[in-house]
Symmetry: C2
Subunit: 158 residues, 2 copies
DNA sequence: TTGATATCATTTGCATACGAATGAATTTCC
DNA sequence: GGAAATTCATTCGTATGCAAATGATATCAA
């Protein structure tokens, strides 16, 4: 009885495994998260090759400030997808470089207003053409049509 | 002559500007780098919701070790796209958790061999089904067909 | 063989990235 | 009006991620 039962269990196990051959062939390099991380790394590397003295988050902060003018730190953070702790560090470093200046909101005393300095505006205006090249080089492995499709799908994911 | 020349220059300038209206309408949220960063952030967040006690890089290290068995630290790093400094920290933390063990290469004394412990193998085997859910949820905004196209194009970029 | 190179690993320094805790100021709601 | 909840900013701790410098070991080449 013992032998027969074990044998039946073995067969059942094999059937189950045949229906789910997944467990054993998980391929890390094909997972979206892994490739996303690599694609992001590649982009950051291309960015650094074109703009050595500013990081992508710092550039994003300046570019957004150029769009919206003066805003609070948190507001800016939400516009460029950074939480409060992260945006503070970015703004601190931009302030130390003289690219942004801070002031207190007159009415709401909690808020810290951030705005571009003249130097910051010059910098971002000067860097935007380079940023276009960065975008182009990042998308270079794709044809124009592929790039358009990719951007549409990527936007859906983000 | 002076007036005529200036006038001609003005017209020329306007033509050039008409051909390149770019400078003023750089849209950060449409740049591939910015969206790539956001998509990556979203994936990391989904990952954390499913696997709270391990980060994506730590998971990648375990998954790759499961594939290839014992390897050197640097070799593992190149397999999962981490430089030497980064992979060291990841392996250190996995070692502290008892998921990997280190040993010296007998022949080449520079190399530090990394391998899964029994506990590490149990962990990765247990987590792989969750990782499949993470991949699925990350791609959820796309239809099956869109996801297939996206993965092909993303792989070209990375 | 030995001197130049290259590889493996470590360390340091800097810059995101985010959860959690804290304090100050504001808004909401009863 | 005032207590409760919310918002804004800061700080701390932990974890990538990478450049650059360093030391130990291997390999290559003259």
């Amino acid at each position: 009885m013992g032998w027969a039962a074990v044998s039946a269990d073995d067969n059942l196990l094999k059937l189950v495994e045949a229906e789910e051959p997944d467990e054993n062939d998980y391929r890390l390099q094909e997972q979206v998260g892994f490739i996303l991380r690599k694609a992001h790394q590649r982009h950051v590397s291309i960015f650094a090759a074109h703009i050595a003295d500013l990081t992508p988050p710092q550039f994003a902060a300046l570019a957004k400030l150029r769009d919206v003018g003066e805003t609070s730190q948190n507001q800016l953070g939400s516009l460029i997808a950074m939480d409060a702790a992260t945006v503070k560090g970015v703004i601190d470093r931009l302030k130390a470089r003289g690219f942004v200046e801070l002031s207190k909101h007159e009415v709401d005393k909690r808020r810290l207003l951030v705005s571009l300095t003249a130097e910051g505006r010059d910098a971002i205006d000067r860097l935007i053409p380079l940023a276009r090249e960065i975008t182009q080089e990042t998308l270079a492995p794709l044809s124009a049509k592929e790039a358009a499709i990719f951007m549409k799908l990527l936007a859906k994911l983000a």
